[in-house]
Amino acid sequence: MSGRKIGDVILDLNNISLSFGGVKALQNISFNVMEHEVRAIIGPNGAGKSSMLNVINGVYHPQEGEIIFRGEHRRDMDTHQAAEQGIARTFQNIALFKGMSVLDNIMTGRNLRMKSNLFMQALWIGPARREELEHRQKVEEIIDFLEIQHIRKTPVGRLPYGLQKRVDLARALAMEPEVLLLDEPMAGMNVEEKQDMCRFILDVNDQFGTTIVLIEHDMGVVMDISDRVVVLDYGKKIGDGVPDEVRANPEVISAYLGASH
């Protein structure tokens, strides 16, 4: 972790509450994320971790609370707005575009930066053509970075799970995000795949300075790679701090870490 310097608060969540009918998914949760840090959200199943990410990038709209992103106060996010402001995301159950090749999947991550109009695209002239080439260049850099050159023309539906996860990450990186939300990037992977993924996450954080918010169940991974950890349980925040603090927090131990630590 050489050139990395933790900056100011980039994302601040204040008293977020979200409910679906009678189910209170999130209750009065506040925490912040600093620029360039790796921030983990942990908690047992159903604790509200994924809902939290969905609130941050605007898929869900909280009933109460406030989201402050880069100094701008807002009640909730809208998916398009979140994407435009540089929040990217990967999914717990891979949400790739199954009918498209790896390359096209990653190219979709560039859609917000492509401005040519429909007619130019239909005629493949001027800006449309130029844009395709420029963005292809950028996408190829990401493909190199994630070491998936050999599968760039393969339809994603044919890829094994571990590689699909990597393509999912590639698509998010293609947005050149400031904040990257990772929803269980290592779920269902074997040890080698997990190691690769950890390396990529740390490299993204280190080389691009991307702020990372991740949900993960593998405690070893979380404690190793994150700078700070927030712990949720039944929609409430029960712990927040650097890994060692969280590990020592008796409430966290009883709710989650249990006997394994």
């Binding site: 994407a83 695209q121 395709e132």
Partner: protein, 358 residues
Amino acid sequence: MLYRENGQFKTSYQADQQIFPIAQDRLGVLLLIAFAFVGVPFLVDEYMFRAILIPFLILSLASLGVNLLVGYCGQITLGAGAFMAVGAYAGYNFLIRVPDMPVLGAILLGGVSAAAVGIVFGVPSLRVRGLYLAVATLAAQFFWDWAFLRIKWFTNDSSSGSVSVANLDVFGVEISSPLSKYLFCLTVLVVLSLAAKNLVRATIGRQWMAIRDMDVAAAVIGIRPMYAKLTAFAVSSFYVGVAGALWGFVHLGSWEPAAFSVDRSFQLLFMVIIGGLGSIMGSFFGAAFIVILPIFLNQILPVFGAIFGVEISTATVSHFEIMIFGSLIVFFLIVEPHGLARLWSTGKEKLRLWPFPH
């Protein structure tokens, strides 16, 4: 061994992003187009043009339009017949009401009108999907069937809703002989097919496919579902509308609303499903299957019967035609649910390795 990309190294992204990156494909398609323009006119007679080739070209264009919406953007539609009708009647109105309106201009404006109508009837797609959307688009079909029959202004006050156009000329060339009609339709089809190929490899095409495959993920990376879906409706309806105008102006000459009934909508949807969803090539296969196969069966069955010394009556031929046609549809859908286009690409995939097993 011929169909192989060995040794064709791409040294620029531009070369890698061509419509047909494999040289043999490029050559094949160019030869096919050249043959269609130069070879076909010497080989076929007037009947072939009128009964088979012109309907095939126009319905290919329409099914291409439907495929952009259903196959690429995943929005199912049962209103394609209505959009063809809008293209035809709008084109007709532009032609008779605007002084000195060129025919090509009227046809394209017919397409533009269909696109506008398509956007309006595409609005339900923002809330409903799948079969529910199919039913919602049926509304377009019933509405326009009714409108062209009952609102006399659209049909220039003709009593039965039937209208006709005559003396078509495009850039000074008169489009009246079957050959000139064929060449005109072929030109429109080739140009619009290339445009479609460009659209689906550009950012808009990727946005459509992203919406089709996983709409939440698409929204999260900044694609606006509204923009993607409504542009798909607009572009698709434009293609279908131009096809409708050609069907009326060039193929039929005079027509009434029944020419664009709900049957037509179903037929176009079947073409796309049989041909291959999400494949430009598949649109042509589907149209060929539905337009050409029945006629082919109709011609071949008596010949076939004669070989075995059996006289087959005309009525029997048409019964068999329907039976064989129906069973072929079932057969192809079982063998390859992704349509004829998938069979085609699997074949090409195999050919690339042939004669080695892998």
